[in-house]
Amino acid sequence: MAVAIAEAQFHVLAVDDSLPDRKLIERLLKTSSFQVTTVDSGTKALEFLGLHGEDASISVHADHLDVEVSVNLIITDYCMPGMTGYDLLKKIKESSSLRDIPVVIMSSENIPSRINRCLEEGANEFFLKPVRLSDMSKLKPHIMKSRCKEHYHQEEEDDLLSNSDSNTSSNPTNNSSGTDTISNPTNNSSDTTDNSSGDSCSARKRKVEARKDEISPKTSRPRHS
């Protein structure tokens, strides 16, 4: 079980109303070692993310799962009926619980004003369709930069399993080892911005530690199970 957690993949939510396009983006993401969930509309994406018109934490609405629903990146088509990818982007950026999740927009049309509009609204990247395998390598850097919040939940489990001082996890000295882990994430990509986000991560880690008891039971299981 320790190995499974150490190798946990990044989770991408892909939004596209077209069936063959969803199939393709799913394959591209899986080939690039991402865990993938696909939905066919912006509305369903927001439902999956736990947003029902009000701020809600990502974990709240995962009723059918016994773990938190944690999405590391959202990739969405621009042109969709009802809620467009741009509308979805806006809703995500307006939500205090979701705004840190990187968003990538896909479109089959190369319209500079559209691209700029999305980037100005907070999109991290814009891909022209058909999306290529090489585009997938652009996703991880965005995830790593915004990883702090989710990484500490992950790290809590990693620390308890691999660290012999698990009983001292509320000890301030563990904060530095936590920051070190951020610099050397399990997924092998080193990103200098991780160091600069370390301070805010430390602050958040203290908050996470205070909530340690609220984390799902599996994090407090014996290390060497």
Partner: protein
């Protein structure tokens, strides 16, 4: 049982590529297929064929009216354009692009004429896709 397409199927695909029915995107699809998802290409092109048929039906219905909602029509065409680009159905994609221009101009005649072309190119490629999948299926059964 090889997870990759059989040689004869690849040959079929190659002829579609050389006649301009498909573009290099289809080759990328083939490369994406692997042991963990050995039916990826078959499933994707099947989805494209089913989706495309449904779209052409909707377009026919919507253009049959005197008062056409060009935004709705464009939305369907756009979706098919995306799907065709994803599987490499070049002629379908290009026809959709022209179709979208007529939608912007709100030209019912232009749309109707392009829909006729779309039907031809779509059924041409979807017919070949179905033949290719059937061939693959037959070969798979023959080698069991």
């Amino acid at each position: 049982m090889a997870a990759t397409m059989k040689l004869s199927t690849l040959g079929y695909a190659a002829s579609m590529l050389s006649t301009g029915l498909l573009d290099e995107q289809f080759q990328k699809l083939l490369l994406l297929q692997n042991k963990s998802d050995p039916n990826f290409v078959a499933e994707t092109i099947t989805l494209f064929c089913e989706d495309g048929e449904h779209t052409i039906g909707e377009l026919t219905k919507r253009l049959d009216k005197q008062c056409v909602n060009f935004d709705e029509v464009a939305a369907f065409v756009h979706k098919l354009e995306g799907g065709s680009a994803s599987v490499g159905a070049k002629r379908v994609k290009n026809t959709c692009i022209r179709f979208l221009d007529f939608c912007k101009e709100k030209s019912r005649d232009g749309c109707l004429k392009t829909l006729d072309t779309l039907r031809v190119v779509f059924y041409e490629v979807s017919g070949k896709f179905k033949d290719m999948l059937q061939l693959e299926q037959q070969q798979a059964e023959a080698t069991k």
